[in-house]
């Protein structure tokens, strides 16, 4: 009993340390993005001379604005497709009896653990031959595929929680299995589907392996790949300020998503990984 206060103090200290560790790199990159080119190398944690020049610079370069458009478009389309396809499979897994269900789950798990670099060579070769190299579909196809296992696991976990009697009731009332799915189950499943969508979007938004190997120009390069290819003022100067500004711009949407949907993200990740 006498140590309760000390313990609480200890845990509060731990929480503050964790918070610092989590936030310092974020604050640092924001601080870098506001540094003036003349002070960027001074090593101060906070800028001594604040400027927004880095931001106006990146928004005037098509390498960044195009990449931003590509990132948003490709991530959104991949997310919608992956979640859509996964919904059907997850419904079958949660709801129907069929031989091969375990094989499907084990195979999905296998794909979740697959090293993406292992298929970059064949995809690079094939994409060049069939004209998908450096195009949106050329990235959407692998993103969708690698998002499917997580989507199937998370969605089937959510689908199991749905009161299925309602579906049977609908079928008794004359609805076909398809109608029962769309009219009764889909609205109940919507929160789980939304959560899955957030997780999948974050995976696609994050990718660098495919983005840096299967694209080469502004037409499909996403932000992570574009940042790594930013031109410096000269061959020997690293464009630190503009990289930092671009990094902040792509980080803001994710931070907003994390802050607004933290509860869902935690639920989805634990559902997909621990139970799945």
């Amino acid at each position: 009993m006498e140590s309760t206060f000390q313990k609480r103090l200890g845990w509060s200290g731990a929480v503050i340390l964790i918070g610092l560790f989590a936030l310092v790199p974020v604050v640092w990159i924001i601080s870098l993005s506001f540094k003036d080119p003349t002070t960027i190398g001074d090593g101060n944690f906070f800028p001594t001379k604040v400027t927004t020049a880095n931001y106006s610079s990146i928004f005037n370069q098509s390498i960044f604005t195009d990449a931003l458009r590509n990132s948003i478009g490709i991530a959104l389309i991949s997310t919608v497709l992956a979640v859509f396809i996964a919904c059907f499979a997850a419904y079958a897994i949660a709801r129907l009896n069929f031989p091969g269900k375990n094989i499907l789950l084990i195979a999905s798990l296998g794909i979740a653990m697959f090293p993406p670099i292992s298929i970059v060579g064949p995809l690079y070769n094939l994409w060049r031959n069939i004209g998908l190299y450096d195009t949106w579909p050329g990235l959407i196809i692998p993103y969708m595929t690698f998002a499917l296992p997580l989507s199937i696991f998370v969605l089937s976990t959510f689908f199991r929680e749905i009161p299925w009697e309602l579906e049977q009731a609908a079928q008794v009332d004359g609805a076909t299995p398809y109608q029962a799915f769309v009219k009764v189950i889909a609205p109940l499943a919507a929160p789980g589907i939304f959560t899955t969508g957030i997780l999948v979007f974050m995976i696609c938004w994050n990718d660098f392996v495919f983005a840096s190997t299967l694209t080469s120009t502004n037409s499909a390069e996403t932000v992570p790949a574009a940042i790594a290819a930013f031109p410096g003022a000269s061959q020997f100067t690293e464009p630190i300020g503009t990289i930092a500004a671009a990094a902040v711009v792509v980080t803001i949407p994710v931070i907003i998503i994390v802050l607004v949907f933290q509860r869902r993200i935690v639920a989805g990740l634990t559902a997909g990984a621990v139970k799945g």
Binding site: P25, I119, V266
Partner: protein, 313 residues
């Protein structure tokens, strides 16, 4: 794994007649519907992963260099011989193992602390969770740049803070420390969340009972919390080990494998895309795939043994 979602209350027709040769029409229709529903996912996953890995295997049996297409030939397992007898391959295996071992090990300790803090803390729970989650959401490339510029002698705050006079990223040790810290920062939240899930399954009554018997919190942690969390710990280790073993983004952004930090994924992509040697590059890809498979297999064996007493979820 233990995670096969149970089919609760559904498909009573097949359950009642498990071994009957003639399935009822209802059961047949159910199967047909199930196969139709899983077909798109299965087709996509097979087409985009199974086919390319087979293709990579076929390429790995050939001398296939895009710079010298006229020399293409089937050469059996010669590429495997070249790769496995090359010091570069074994050096990169070692680099990958070092990064994996230290990142996952450090993450496990910090992740456990974060999970315990998130579990215990009564005040500002939402804020704590949100802050701890932020690194998870940040793009790996962005995280790597932030840490790289923090470590760099020209721009960073870290050399100044610790009084380091030479560029940490120009040395092997410094590069490893930086890469590992960047990895740990980015992925600890994921580890912590998985552990938090396991922590929630430890019943409070056990802790209360042990307290009454005079166990210290340290004893309770090792004798109650850890054994009951074993399945969650193993799942978290499995996911993170496989993930860390494929490390690519962070290493490329830091220095593209310079100063002896080249990992297997970086080696594969260099062979494929810079040297355009599809044969050797594919061999590295296939070997990496096999290594990942072996690690997963070992974990699942251990995991299966550890998780079986607790049964399914």
């Amino acid at each position: 794994m233990s995670a096969i979602p149970a089919t609760r209350g559904s498909g009573t027709a097949t359950e009642q007649t498990p071994r009957q040769r003639h399935l009822t029409d209802r059961a047949k229709a159910e199967r047909r519907l199930a196969y139709m529903l899983i077909a798109p996912a299965v087709i996509v996953m097979v087409a985009v992963t199974v086919w390319p890995i087979i293709n990579a295997f076929i390429l790995s049996l050939q001398r296939a260099d895009l710079r010298f297409p006229e020399n293409n030939a089937f050469i059996g397992f010669d590429n495997y011989g070249s790769v496995l007898s090359s010091p570069l391959w074994w050096a990169d295996v070692l680099h990958t193992v070092i990064i994996t071992f230290f990142s996952v090990g450090i993450e496990l300790v910090i992740g456990m602390l974060v999970a315990l803090a998130m579990h215990r803390v009564i005040f500002a729970r939402g804020t704590v969770r949100a802050v701890a989650l932020i690194p998870y959401g940040i793009i790996t490339v962005v995280a790597a740049y932030s840490w790289r510029y923090a470590f760099e002698l020209d721009s960073g705050w870290i050399p100044g803070l610790f009084g380091i006079k030479s560029d940490p990223l120009a040395s092997t040790t410094g590069s490893y420390v930086a890469v590992i810290i960047s990895e740990v920062w980015k992925t600890t939240p994921f580890m912590a969340l998985l552990l938090l899930g396991g922590l929630a399954l430890v019943p409070d009554e056990l802790h209360e009972a042990a307290k009454v018997d005079g166990a210290t919190s340290w004893q309770r942690f090792w004798k109650i919390t850890i054994p009951l969390m074993k399945p969650a710990i193993l799942v978290a280790l499995l996911f993170r080990t496989l993930d860390a073993f494929r490390i690519y983004d962070t290493v490329v952004i830091f220095n593209n494998g310079a100063h002896n930090t080249e990992t297997l994924s970086v080696l594969a992509s260099n062979q494929l895309l810079n040297r355009l040697n599809l044969g050797l590059g594919s061999t590295v890809s296939v070997l990496l795939f096999v290594l990942v498979g072996i690690i997963a297999f070992i974990f699942i064996k251990v995991f299966g043994a550890a998780a079986s007493p607790t049964g399914g979820d």
